[in-house]
């Protein structure tokens, strides 16, 4: 079993209303050093197959379903084989 973490972020050109609201909330709490907040998603996958074999498959999963390339970017990390 291989574990993959897919990190989904909003494209830089896309305004993130949640991030703006979170930034303002942090500043209200006194964290005035906060200049910018962007909120994304973490998708954890557990897959059969070796790390080398799954890279292309995960790319395909991201582009077919997991992310929308109009508004989102992604990167993923292939983790250690989970001990069963």
């Amino acid at each position: 079993m291989t574990k993959v973490n897919v990190y989904v972020t909003l494209r830089e050109s896309v305004v993130d209303p949640q991030g703006i609201a979170a930034k303002e909330a942090l500043q209200t709490l006194g964290f005035n050093e906060v200049q910018n907040v962007r909120i994304g998603k973490l998708i954890e996958l557990e897959l059969d197959g070796t790390a080398a074999a799954i890279e292309g498959r995960v790319t395909e999963m991201c582009e077919k379903l997991l992310i929308n390339q109009v508004i989102e970017d992604y990167r993923f990390e292939i983790g250690e084989v989970a001990g069963q």
Binding site: V15, P17, Q18, A21, L65, N68, V70, I71
Partner: protein, 228 residues
């Protein structure tokens, strides 16, 4: 002319759509479940609003894993009309039948009410019953109404008159160019966030949605006659 109302798990306004077409427009219409649908039996497909697959991942995203989506692509390629409203619009975008994507409303709130719209193109098979630049009011109800599309696509949409409806004043959800509804390149797939099926009877607050259904019926029926 036969209409299908295409249902996914989580579609919740299919009966509003059925009622509008069956009882008010008085056309032949059937609600069909996505796994059992044979779209070749129909002349027009209506995708109602709701929250298909619970809006998980992104609104409309999981619906594109349904087998009916390849049928929808064929249906669109054949030139027959497809209308997606609210979540139906989001499904059409995620399925790649219309460009763009949806973000959460700028206010981060679910909003509902009457949207004032301008009919930007009254020469489509969906809007021939309206006047050019007519101002209409249609209900809306969405949390992800913030239509997002890049500058290059906006230019294409504008150049080909594919922006069909815009919000008149107040584009509170933040849609690019105040877009409320767009057409595909071929002109036979319309997606819109406002809900015309909720505005077909004066007794429930307006009839500005009625010309849209009547236009589809009229243009579809004329096409039938010319093909016969």
């Amino acid at each position: 002319m036969r209409f299908a109302v295409l249902k996914f798990p989580g579609s919740s306004c299919d009966l509003d759509m059925f009622h509008a077409v069956n009882d008010i427009v008085k056309a032949d219409v059937e609600c069909v479940w996505h796994t059992e649908a044979d779209l070749s039996l129909f002349d027009a497909v209506l995708i109602p609003t709701g929250a298909a697959y619970g809006d998980y991942l992104r609104p409309g995203a999981l619906a594109k894993s349904s087998a009916v989506i390849s049928q929808l692509h064929e249906f669109a390629a054949s030139g027959k009309p497809i209308l997606g409203v609210g979540n139906g619009f989001q499904i059409l975008v995620e399925a790649g039948l219309l460009p763009g994507a949806f973000l959460m409303n700028k206010s981060l709130k679910f909003r509902s009410g009457q949207a004032k719209l301008v009919v930007q193109n009254a020469e489509t098979s969906f809007t021939s019953g309206y006047e050019a630049e007519q101002e209409i009011a249609l209900p809306f109800a969405h949390a992800y109404g913030n239509y997002c599309v890049n500058a290059e696509t906006v230019t294409q949409l504008k150049d080909n008159k594919r922006i069909v409806f815009t919000y008149k004043d107040g584009n509170e959800d933040g849609s690019t160019e105040a877009i409320a509804g767009i057409l595909n390149e071929q002109g036979n797939v319309l997606g819109m966030m406002p809900l015309p099926e909720r505005a077909v009877e004066a007794i429930i607050g307006g009839t500005d949605g009625l010309p849209l259904f009547q236009s589809i019926l009229k243009n579809g029926s004329e096409q039938h006659v010319s093909q016969a």
